[in-house]
């Protein structure tokens, strides 16, 4: 009575092994044929990353602190946040983590930029097309839940170890919030307002630019904020494929059980995360100051 046995009647071991070997073989054949082309295709991105990293690590540190403080001010207009930014950066430098932090900031900055450049258009497209929604949503689910090393090693086989595969891994993990929140924000725009814009002769593009995007902005900012947080959360995992920055000392600390080293570098990551979070939230709040505050 096969139905009374607890062991599921799975495919035989030979079949499963043959299946796995076949897929592995196909993937290897693919990397052999197309790997070089893919590498070349990503070269501009790699060069851009290296450039930003060089800027941040080679520039004199007071200049970098000043520029970052100025950016924080421009976005938030809050003395408290600027002060917090400067103090955090100075503390990080004092504890000898400056170079690593700059490398991480460069990587996270570029990753966020890429995530925005890709994610915003996809979110906008999704809000217009239920079919695209049906295709993209499962892909996002996979991107957020598939264990990272599962797709990291194939990426390494295609592109080698270093910044670009690390960037790809971070972007894959961090892009879903931007896409989801953009889509949500656009969908939540008051239908009456869209109708009014259409009645006054607004084209689709005009409606998007003058009504939908401005009104979706609070939600989109929440998505961007989440993307930045997830990108920083990936810092240690990215270092597992050779990305430099704060992740490497943390890895070393894990392997050798150096508690304090791990803690200090981890706190540096937290510090950067808090800076990014506060600045982006303050910017988001500033953008919405004309919208009515929800009454209790």
């Amino acid at each position: 009575m096969a139905l009374l046995q607890p062991d599921f009647p799975a495919l035989s071991e030979e079949t499963l092994a043959a299946l796995r070997l076949h897929i592995d073989g196909s993937f290897r054949a693919f990397t052999r044929e197309h790997g070089a082309t893919l590498e070349r295709a990503f070269e501009p991105l790699r060069d851009f990353l290296l450039l930003i990293e060089k800027l941040l690590t080679q520039a004199p540190w007071p200049l970098v602190v000043a520029v970052l403080a100025a950016l924080a001010w421009a976005a938030s207009r809050s003395w408290r946040i600027v002060l917090g930014t400067v103090l955090t950066l100075l503390t990080i430098g004092l504890f000898g983590m400056w170079q690593d932090t700059m490398k991480t900031v460069a990587m996270i900055g570029v990753a966020t930029l890429v995530a925005l450049l890709l994610g915003l258009p996809i979110g906008i497209a999704m809000s217009r097309s239920p079919r695209l929604q049906a295709i993209v949503n499962p892909v996002l689910d996979v991107m957020q839940t598939l264990p990272i090393f599962v797709y990291l090693i194939p990426v390494v086989m295609l592109l080698g170890i270093g910044r670009v595969p690390g960037l790809i891994a971070v972007v894959i993990y961090a892009i879903p919030p931007v896409i989801r929140f953009t889509h949500l924000g656009l969908r939540l725009v008051d239908k009456d307002l869209l109708e009014a814009a259409e009645a006054f002769g607004g084209s689709k593009w005009q409606r998007l630019r003058h009504v939908q995007l401005p009104l979706a902005l609070p939600t989109v900012m929440a998505g961007i904020n989440q993307t930045i947080m997830l990108a920083l959360a990936m810092v240690v995992i990215a270092s597992m494929i050779g990305v430099q920055g704060l992740g490497q000392p943390v890895l070393r600390a894990i392997s050798n059980q150096y508690f304090t080293m791990g803690l200090l570098n981890g706190l540096a990551i937290v510090g950067i995360a808090i800076i990014f979070d506060r600045v982006s939230q303050a910017y988001g709040r500033r953008l919405q100051q004309h919208l009515p505050r929800p009454r209790g």
């Binding site: 009374l4 070997l21 790997g35 597992m240 050779g242 894990i254 050798n256």
Partner: protein, 349 residues
């Protein structure tokens, strides 16, 4: 009772009935469960460290099979890694057995523990020891027969281009946090690789290092970096170890090359790493004949490499590899075990 409620109740009752009806596995063959008094000193519970690389994994499973089916031990495999497992054995006496311990990583505290009698060395799991060094792919060595030593390779940064540092050569180093990171870093300094136009690339993890070799090999691209054996990668991809050009100097190694703080490391070859089985004192006292087995059990590189090549080809797990080994090489493992244990094992294969 409404229909949905009734269905749930009926379903639960049916499942309970099925569970009661399905027969338990009948005990097959003699001594599957340790029967009191029929065997000399049943060895009781043993925890065996199952470390996360292929040769250690298959060895742990071989030990688990032999100890449980041959000696009647109750074996539990616990995941492990060199430093955490040995530290735990030293501090807490758990797990009982580390089948393939690369002891150089924790040489000093380990020797201290052995001196105090808390831990013991059993057999050298790999009597030839582990090999470490800088390797290049065989196709590259064939294409450039003039490159035989590390010095030869360092003359050609153009041959090993670094993808993220234009104009420089790349040496792939040891993953973050491993002890070899120190020795490779010092070798980089000793051979003055930076001045010769090379950068040392930190791969971050063993998986990434393996991935970079696989990527290079699939596309016949050049690769130069640190690796160790016996490993599945060396079993799968033919690599050639570069000659250091100097012999191994143990004193200099201890004082300088193996230490992070060493300011002026000199050129030094890697030692053959000692790879031994380490057991706790408790197990040595209580294990009886099981400990004797662990004192005898060892295999050479060729055996291990062949086995791992088979495992990679079949995508087999450590357990499958262990079973395959026991089935195909009885003449080897029978030399490790007592005749009674051998008979029991043979019957159950």
């Amino acid at each position: 009772m409404s229909l949905p409620h009734f269905s749930i109740l009926a379903g639960a009752a049916a499942l309970a009935l099925l569970a009661a009806c399905s027969k338990p596995e009948p005990a097959t063959g003699p001594a599957a469960a340790p029967a009191a008094g029929t065997q000399a000193t049943p060895c009781g519970r043993v925890t065996v460290a199952n470390m996360n690389w292929q040769s250690a994994e298959v060895l742990a499973h071989v030990d688990a099979l032999i100890l449980s089916k041959g000696y009647g031990c109750e074996v539990e495999l616990v995941p492990g890694d060199t430093v955490p497992t040995l530290t735990a054995m030293m501090e807490k006496g758990q797990p009982d057995v580390a089948p393939e311990a690369w002891v150089n990583a924790v040489r000093e505290p380990l020797d201290a523990a052995v001196k105090q009698g808390r831990l013991h060395y059993a057999a050298n799991a790999l009597p030839e020891g582990g090999i470490e060094g800088l390797w290049i792919p065989k196709y590259l060595a064939d294409a450039h027969p003039e490159i035989k030593t590390i010095d030869d390779a360092l003359k050609r940064p153009d041959l090993f281009p670094a993808p993220e540092a234009k104009g420089k050569g790349a040496i792939y180093g040891c993953p973050s946090g491993w002890t070899c990171q120190i020795t490779v870093g010092n070798a980089f300094k000793a051979w003055d690789a930076k001045a010769k136009g090379f950068v040392l690339v930190d791969p971050g993890s063993a998986a990434a290092l393996d991935g970079s070799i696989a990527k290079a090999y699939e596309r016949q691209q050049p690769w130069l970096g640190y690796y160790w054996g016996p490993t599945s990668i060396l079993g799968r991809y033919a690599m050639v170890k570069l000659d250091a050009g100097v012999p191994h100097d143990p004193a200099a190694w201890e004082n300088c090359n193996a230490k992070l703080e060493c300011l002026q490391p000199a050129k030094n070859d890697w030692a053959r790493a000692q790879v031994s089985t380490v057991v706790t004192d408790r197990f040595k006292q209580a294990g009886g004949p099981a400990f004797d087995y662990l004192n005898k059990r060892s295999w050479n590189h060729q055996t291990v490499n062949t086995l791992m090549a088979w495992m990679s080809a079949q995508q087999a797990s450590g357990a499958d590899g262990a079973r395959h080994f026991l089935k195909t090489q009885p003449e080897l493992w029978k030399t490790w075990v007592t005749p009674e244990a051998a008979a029991k094992l043979q019957a159950q294969l």
